[in-house]
């Protein structure tokens, strides 16, 4: 069943076998969605919670998804929104200023038992965490997910021109940070 494309999965979901179709959709996209969320939240447990919520929302709303957009851009959009609202909730709950959220995410990198990267990778991740929220998302989608600008535009609701400019700025900032020692 791995060969089924998104339209076929959606048809299966709507025409009588929703549980099975949903299971296939999860298996097809869980890793993309998880890693996207994980790069934003760093912590595995937080990412796990958010990914579960993402797919529960997908289950609740898949019936209304009409297939005008690509399914994976729709999934990424839900995941991005869920991850960002998770960060905002955390910030509000603990009265943490935005700068400190980034600081605490960077600290998590140090203590995360599921981070296996070397020093250069750790430095790259810390550099990415210093970026403003939206630039960070754009950089991750382009650099790690190797996503096309058109798809990023569907996810973030930003023009491809603005996305290219943001990626350029983000890459320059990270380059500077890596050079700085």
């Amino acid at each position: 069943m791995d060969h089924l494309d998104d339209k076929e999965l959606l048809d299966m979901f709507k025409s009588g076998n929703p549980d099975y179709a949903f299971n296939l959709i999860m298996r097809k996209y869980q890793q993309n969605i998880y890693w996207h969320v994980r790069r934003l939240l760093i912590d595995h447990d937080d990412s796990n919670d958010v990914v579960q919520n993402v797919f529960l929302k997908v289950w609740e709303n898949l019936d209304d998804f009409r297939g005008d957009a690509k399914m994976y851009t729709w999934l990424y959009r839900i995941a991005t929104n869920e991850a960002l609202s998770f960060l905002k909730k955390k910030q509000k709950r603990f009265f943490i200023p935005l700068v400190d959220v980034e600081e605490s995410l960077a600290n998590k990198l140090e203590s995360d038992q599921y981070f296996k990267g070397d020093e250069i990778q750790k430095k790259l991740q810390k550099a990415i965490l210093k970026l403003p929220e939206k630039q960070r998302i754009i950089f991750n989608l382009r650099y790690f997910d190797e996503m096309k600008y058109d798809d990023m535009s569907e996810i973030l609701g930003t023009s491809t021109g603005a996305l290219k400019a943001s990626y350029h700025i983000a890459a320059k900032k990270i380059e500077e940070f890596l050079k700085s020692g």
């Binding site: 993309n32 790259l124 190797e146 890596l178």
Partner: protein, 172 residues
């Protein structure tokens, strides 16, 4: 998910941030063992437990809703009645006056009611109807009835109350 061509990505990075061209791209994060094997199962379980919970709470939820609506309705009705009585005070009193007068007359007639008066009406004033087939006090006179028989019949069957009420209305 269709990825960007590697050569486009490489050229873009070389043009914009050449120092990044040798930066690592490998995923430095890990997940617990069998995480992705078990994740769909856990999500299915969560989904099912949520569905069950929502089914279980339907009655409780409805009950709460019904109580809430009932309470809101009671408040609204009380408020509406208060406003009505406050703004229609005079009308109510007028109505009450009419009602009181009417019932006062009615009970007064009932109290003074003398059956004989109505028999007299039948005997003295409406004698001619005894010869007719008209209806008197709701009782039809039949030609072959004797007078005494008719009065006996009237006592048992006639309903004077509509006529009493008519008389009260005329007097008012």
């Amino acid at each position: 998910m269709e990825k960007e061509k590697p050569d486009i990505l490489k050229k873009e990075l070389l043009d914009q941030a050449p120092g990044m061209s040798n930066a690592p791209k490998d995923n430095p994060f890990e997940v617990p063992k069998d995480y992705f094997e078990n994740l769909p199962v856990r999500i299915q379980q969560l989904k099912n437990s949520r569905t069950q919970r929502s089914h279980r709470t339907i009655w409780g939820y409805s009950q709460q809703k019904v109580l809430a609506y009932a309470a809101a309705l009671a408040v609204l009705v009380s408020f509406g009645l208060s406003v009505f009585f406050l703004t229609h005070d005079d009308d109510i009193n007028d109505l009450a006056g009419i009602e009181d007068d009417y019932y006062e007359s009615y009970f007064s007639y009932i109290a003074d009611y003398d059956e004989a008066h109505y028999y007299d009406v039948v005997l003295n004033e409406e004698n001619d109807i005894l010869d007719s087939e008209d209806i008197f006090f709701g009782v039809m006179w039949e030609e072959d009835m004797e007078e005494d028989e008719y009065f006996e019949y009237l006592l048992d069957n006639m309903d004077i109350y509509p006529y009493l009420l008519e008389e009260i209305a005329d007097n008012n």
